[in-house]
Symmetry: C2
Subunit: 371 residues, 2 copies
Amino acid sequence: MSVGIVETKFVHFDTELRLESGRILGPITLAYETYGTLNRDGSNAILVAHAWTGSAHLAGKNSEDDLKPGWWDAIVGPGRLLDTDRYFIVCSNIIGSCYGSTGPASINPKTGKRYNLTFPLITVRDMVRAQQLLIDYLGIRKLLTVLGGSMGGMQALEWSTCYPDRIASAIVLATSGKPSPMAISMNAVARWAIFNDPSWKKGEYRRNPKDGLALARGIGHITFLSEQSMNEKFGRRFSTRDGLFDFFGQFEVERYLSYNGYNFVDRFDANCFLYLAKALDLYDVAWGCESLQEAFTPVQSPIQFFAFTSDWLYPPYQTEEMVKVLEELGKTVEYHLIESTYGHDAFLLEHETFAPHIKSFLNRIESAVGM
Amino acid sequence: MSVGIVETKFVHFDTELRLESGRILGPITLAYETYGTLNRDGSNAILVAHAWTGSAHLAGKNSEDDLKPGWWDAIVGPGRLLDTDRYFIVCSNIIGSCYGSTGPASINPKTGKRYNLTFPLITVRDMVRAQQLLIDYLGIRKLLTVLGGSMGGMQALEWSTCYPDRIASAIVLATSGKPSPMAISMNAVARWAIFNDPSWKKGEYRRNPKDGLALARGIGHITFLSEQSMNEKFGRRFSTRDGLFDFFGQFEVERYLSYNGYNFVDRFDANCFLYLAKALDLYDVAWGCESLQEAFTPVQSPIQFFAFTSDWLYPPYQTEEMVKVLEELGKTVEYHLIESTYGHDAFLLEHETFAPHIKSFLNRIESAVGM
């Protein structure tokens, strides 16, 4: 069942956050949504962390007129995997984004103007530092679990390593502890596409630089798919609208990238896209540590990992590296390699493949914490 | 040994070529180089077909001042794999290119202006059709072999299927008989990068649209490398020139793409890049046939195939599909899967891995034809 109509809330912190870069960010606004009710001992709270271009709007609709529900509606609601009759679910927009939390597109209260490129570079660790303020604010001492895919999984890893006493478990899907130069290079050309757009104006645009941002998003979509999913979805079919020998004629896969690219322009800010792409590339779970061993030493609670066979953005071997080190350290870790042709997007599209594993993992965590 | 100083020659055909699209192209100029001497019975001629942005300048230097030799110099020269004391080697610039053969950057003799987008779309089959004029002109009845990698391999496939009586063998490296939607999508975003550049002006530029073309080439380089080669070459190293938290700071892989992208602008025409990208995407060895079986039925002479394990642009399975069908048809076919981390570029960088196989293949062909 759907959670129905939900409202995005906002909380304002006067705190100044010291970022990994050494720079200061504050005050900070965080946009968030919650579903279900926090139980008396506060043991049923789950934080769902969103990916690159996601938002706090995880499930349900913000108004009756919404055509689509939240970004992971399929797993959140009464009777669903994240059962809102049982859990208190929180999802907050990350800092650096443009869906209500403080980011490059926000007004800098000190100048009255948009931050744009004066916004400091942020890391995934910074995002989680800000999230922690929200968890405190909501009166949650310890999260039952933090769950996320892609950049959401990176956040779950940061909770596990930096705030181990604040979580009882973590669930990490389609994530890398350290994106490869291949993943970086795809983001690099996406950034370049925006830099090339004269209407970007070094970030001082009035209107989103649409051609550059659409292309950047098109490049992103290539990384979300896989050779197999493209073969299944498009093959080498040529657009029926175009002639094969038209100079501007498009293959169906080409039209898909273009269509999704231009759609994205209406919903996401170009500077925010750039800042978050950078955060992805800079991500290193062993940031500030000598080794992965050192990084994972503080981990206290079980982590469940999922990787997807056709994910070439964050390929399974990157998850397996982390699992191996955690096992060597004697940590409680569980790993599922899911056979899928959907590529990186599998975590959003094929929840039925991993939902049963998450369900039984959560049951065990609940028993352990006596929920 | 190097072939030394060589001269690019040009030949002009008044013929009008009927293209696959139904359009007519002509007159046609072809740029070509030759190395070695055609023997009396004309049995020692080898055609080397170049890839996307290659040229007729296969080996040696065009002048003493050249910093670099031709694009596949390592395998051409006295005592080298393609021994110029033994063979007569021909390399011609493909039509659609900008290195002396007729292409979008050429002057249309009918208008006195550059063709630009009035140039007809061309296919790999059209390129080979034009090459055949050159082979006739040079007095070669039958080529000992046609050899090429990537788009050069596609040309070798076209010789095998469309002009089977004109060749005694073919050698095909790092090629696809039908590029995947993944390969198409990378070319699609490369094209898009050029279309986005306002200085492209729908092809009517005076100066190459540098930012768009550089980005397009940067995207191309991603497809030429592999996750492994990027790991070995760059890892996640950050440019020492930049701060990790500089907004415009670059990873080394990012700087590599940018450096190579901008270098390319001085040597290749944007419209030609677009036309040839399209020819790659449209390539289908079974073009005009009902099946791969039908396409390969006319093949008369042995084909030697090479694929490279880390080539994700034209992955080995695409070569294996062709080999399987040829074997089923009872054709003489030889296949080598070369273990390599270099990705698609392996065919240019690791000639020592395949040279011995080519040598023994050529020896057998020579015996068969009595050279």
